[in-house]
C-alpha cells in the first residue's frame, strides 16, 4: 500500500517529462550545427544592422555616434553605390542567363552517345575547377592583355602586323568580366542540366516517338517541362553565387570602369574608406535585396525537394 502511494507521483512525473527528454535527445545531434551557424553567420548580420545606424569611420574614431538613417540616405543617394546596384543586377542576370543557355545546349550535345564523350565532359568541367582568382588572372593577363594576351596574339597571327589590337578590358570592361564568369559557370549549369536530362523517364520519350513525335516536339513538350526545375535550380544557385561575386571584379578590373558590384563597393567602403557605418548600411541593403531573391529561391528548392520526396 505504502509503496503504491510513494511511487505514484514519481511515475506521473516521469510520464510528464519523458516526451520532453526524448524531444531534446532528438534535437541533441542537430544543436551543434545549428548553434554554430547562428553564432558565426547570423549574429554578424545583427551587428551589421546595429553599426549601420552609427556614424562610425575608423579614420575619425572620436566622432562615433548615432546616425539614425543617415547612412541609408547616404547609401541610397550615392551615385557610385546606386550604380553598383545596377552593375550587380546586370552582371548576375547576364552571366546566369548566358551560362544557362550555353549550358543547356552543351548538355543536350553531351546527352547523346559519341566517341570520347567522357573526355569531352572532363574538358568541359575544367573551367569550373580553376580557382576563381586564378581564372580571373588568366583572363586578365594571359588572354585579354593588349600586348601579349592570347586574343590579340591570335588576331596578329591571322591578320599580320596591321591586325587590330584592342584593349579588351578598357573598351568593354563589363563584357570582359561577364565573359570570364560565363566561362566558369557554364560547366556548372551544364552538369546540373545534364543530370536533369539523364533523369528523364525513357519510356515516356519512347512512347512519344512511337506516337510520331519528332525530336523538336519531344524537346518542347517532354524535355523542357522536365528540365524546368533543373533550370530553376541552376539559375537560382547561380544567382546566389554570382550576386556575391568578388574575385572576378576585384581581379580583372579592380572595380574600375563601371564594373564595381555591390560586394566590391562594400569592400571598398570598409577597406579603403574605413567608413564602417556606411559599409554596414550598404550591407543591410544587400541583405534585404537578397531576402527578396531568397524567398523565391527557397520556394523553388522546396518544390524540387517535395517532388523528390514522393
Amino acid at each position: 500500500m505504502s509503496t503504491v502511494t510513494v511511487s505514484a507521483p514519481q511515475t506521473l512525473r516521469r510520464n510528464r517529462s519523458a516526451p520532453r527528454v526524448r524531444a531534446w535527445a532528438r534535437r541533441g545531434p542537430l544543436l551543434p550545427a545549428l548553434l554554430f551557424t547562428i553564432v558565426v553567420t547570423q549574429l554578424p548580420f545583427v551587428a551589421t544592422l546595429v553599426i549601420s545606424f552609427l556614424d562610425w569611420n575608423a579614420l575619425y574614431p572620436d566622432r562615433r555616434g548615432f546616425a539614425g538613417l543617415g547612412n541609408y540616405s547616404a547609401v541610397l543617394t550615392d551615385p557610385a553605390l546606386r550604380a553598383s546596384i545596377g552593375t550587380t543586377a546586370l552582371l548576375t542576370v547576364s552571366v546566369v542567363l548566358v551560362s544557362l543557355v550555353l549550358g543547356l545546349g552543351i548538355a543536350l550535345l553531351l546527352n547523346r552517345a559519341f566517341l570520347g564523350r567522357g573526355i569531352v565532359r572532363t574538358m568541359l568541367i575544367a573551367p569550373f575547377l580553376v580557382v576563381p582568382v586564378a581564372a580571373a588572372l588568366l583572363w586578365k593577363h594571359a588572354l585579354y592583355n593588349p600586348e601579349y594576351g592570347l586574343f590579340n596574339g591570335i588576331l596578329s597571327a591571322v591578320g599580320g602586323s596591321h591586325a587590330p589590337q584592342p584593349d579588351w578590358i578598357s573598351t568593354m570592361p563589363t563584357a570582359a568580366v561577364v565573359a570570364a564568369l560565363v566561362w566558369q559557370w557554364t560547366p556548372f549549369m551544364m552538369l546540373i542540366l545534364l543530370a536533369g536530362l539523364q533523369s528523364r523517364p525513357p519510356d515516356v520519350i519512347e512512347a512519344a516517338t512511337v506516337d510520331g513525335a519528332g525530336p523538336f516536339a519531344v524537346f518542347r513538350y517532354i524535355t523542357l517541362p522536365h528540365l524546368r526545375q533543373y533550370l530553376e535550380l541552376g539559375g537560382l544557385l547561380g544567382c546566389i553565387y554570382i550576386v556575391q561575386n568578388f574575385d572576378a571584379v576585384f581581379t580583372i578590373t579592380s572595380g574600375g570602369l563601371g564594373t564595381a558590384n555591390l560586394p566590391y563597393t562594400i569592400y571598398e567602403t570598409f577597406y579603403q574608406a574605413h567608413d564602417y557605418g556606411r559599409a554596414s548600411a550598404a550591407g543591410v541593403v544587400v541583405v534585404v535585396a537578397s531576402i527578396v531573391v531568397a524567398t523565391f529561391a527557397l520556394r523553388v528548392v522546396s518544390s524540387l525537394f517535395r517532388q523528390e520526396a514522393r
Binding site: R26, P29, L30, P32, A33, F36, T37, V40, T41, P44, F45, A47, T48, I51, L109, L110, R112, F114, L115, G116, R117, V120, R121, T122, M123, L124, I125, L129, V130, V131, P132, V133, A134, L137, L138, K140, H141, A142, L143, N145, L150, G153, A157, W183, L191, L233, L237, Q244, F246, F250, P263, F270, Y276, G283, V287, A294, L298, V301, S302, F305
Partner: protein, 270 residues
C-alpha cells in the same frame, strides 16, 4: 547528322578547355617567349616559371600560403562533415519536429551575402586577437559550408535503409557507434560528395581571407592577388602560380566527377 553533332561537342569541349591548356602551356615557357605577340608556339619548354613561383630569385616561398590553404580547407571540411552528419541524423533518420523548417533555415543562411557580415567579423576578430590566424579561417569556412553540407547530408542519409537502423538499435548501439559503424558505410558516397564540395569552396575562398589574414595566415588565393596589378615580364610565373594553386581542385574534381554533380545540386541529383 549524328557525326556532326559529335564533332560539334568536341569543338565546344576544346574551346572551353583551351584557356586552361593555354595557362599550363604558358607556364612552361620562358618569360620572353610567353610575352611574344603573335604567340611563339614552338618556343622551348622550361620549368623556369615554376622555379620563379617557388621563389628561386626572390626567395619568397609560396609554401606558407599553400599550407595555410590546406589547413583551413581540410580541417574545416572535417569539422563540417562531422557537424553535418550529426545534424543530418536529426533531420533525416530520427527527425526532430518541424525538421523541414530547420532544413530551410540552414539553406536560407546561405542566401544572405557573406560580405554583409564581414565588417563585424573583422572587428570582433581584431578585438579578440584572431586576425591573421589560420584557425579563424577554419571557423569561418566551417560556417560558410555547413548549411550546404547539412542540406546534402540530409538528402543522403534519407537513403539509409530503416531496417539496418532498427537492427542496430536492437543491438543497443549508441549514436556515435551507429553513425560510424552503420550510417557512414552506407552514406559514404554522399559524405565524399559533401567533403569534395566543401573542400573546393574553402580552397577557392578569397574575400574573407584577403580582409582577415596577412603575412602569417594568408591563403593561396591571397597570394595570387599579389599578381593583380603586376607589371613587366611575369606572365609565365603567374600562369605557373595559377596552375599550382588550381591543381588540388582540378585533381579532386576530375577524380570525382559524379560526386561533383551530386554536390552541386545539393544532393537532389543522385
Amino acid at each position: 547528322m549524328r557525326r556532326i553533332l559529335g564533332v560539334v561537342a568536341w569543338l565546344v569541349g576544346i574551346a572551353f578547355f583551351f584557356p586552361v591548356a593555354w595557362m599550363v602551356f604558358t607556364s612552361l615557357h620562358s618569360e620572353q617567349a610567353a610575352a611574344t605577340n603573335p604567340p611563339d608556339v614552338t618556343a622551348p619548354l622550361t620549368l623556369d616559371g615554376y622555379r620563379e613561383f617557388f621563389g628561386a630569385s626572390t626567395g619568397a616561398s609560396p609554401w606558407p600560403y599553400l599550407i595555410n590553404s590546406a589547413t583551413a580547407s581540410l580541417v574545416s571540411t572535417l569539422l563540417v562533415v562531422i557537424l553535418a552528419m550529426l545534424a543530418g541524423y536529426a533531420l533525416a533518420i530520427r527527425p526532430v519536429r518541424r525538421w523541414t523548417d530547420a532544413l530551410f533555415f540552414f539553406l536560407s543562411t546561405k542566401m544572405l551575402p557573406a560580405v554583409a557580415g564581414l565588417l563585424p567579423i573583422y572587428l570582433i576578430s581584431q578585438r579578440i586577437g584572431l586576425l591573421d590566424n589560420v584557425w579563424l579561417m577554419v571557423v569561418l569556412y566551417t560556417a560558410m559550408n555547413l548549411p550546404i553540407a547539412v542540406w546534402m547530408m540530409h538528402s543522403f542519409l534519407r537513403e539509409v535503409p530503416v531496417a539496418i537502423l532498427e537492427a542496430a538499435a536492437l543491438d543497443g548501439a549508441r549514436l556515435p557507434t551507429v553513425l560510424r559503424r552503420v550510417i557512414l558505410p552506407v552514406a559514404a558516397p554522399g559524405v565524399a560528395a559533401t567533403a569534395l564540395i566543401c573542400f573546393i569552396f574553402s580552397w577557392n575562398e578569397m574575400l574573407f581571407a584577403r580582409v582577415l589574414t596577412g603575412v602569417v595566415a594568408g591563403t593561396a588565393p591571397v597570394f595570387l592577388t599579389s599578381f593583380v596589378t603586376s607589371q613587366g615580364l611575369f606572365l609565365s610565373k603567374v600562369c605557373a602560380a595559377a596552375t599550382v594553386i588550381s591543381v588540388p581542385v582540378l585533381a579532386a574534381g576530375f577524380a570525382a566527377q559524379n560526386k561533383l554533380v551530386q554536390g552541386l545540386s545539393l544532393g537532389a541529383v543522385k
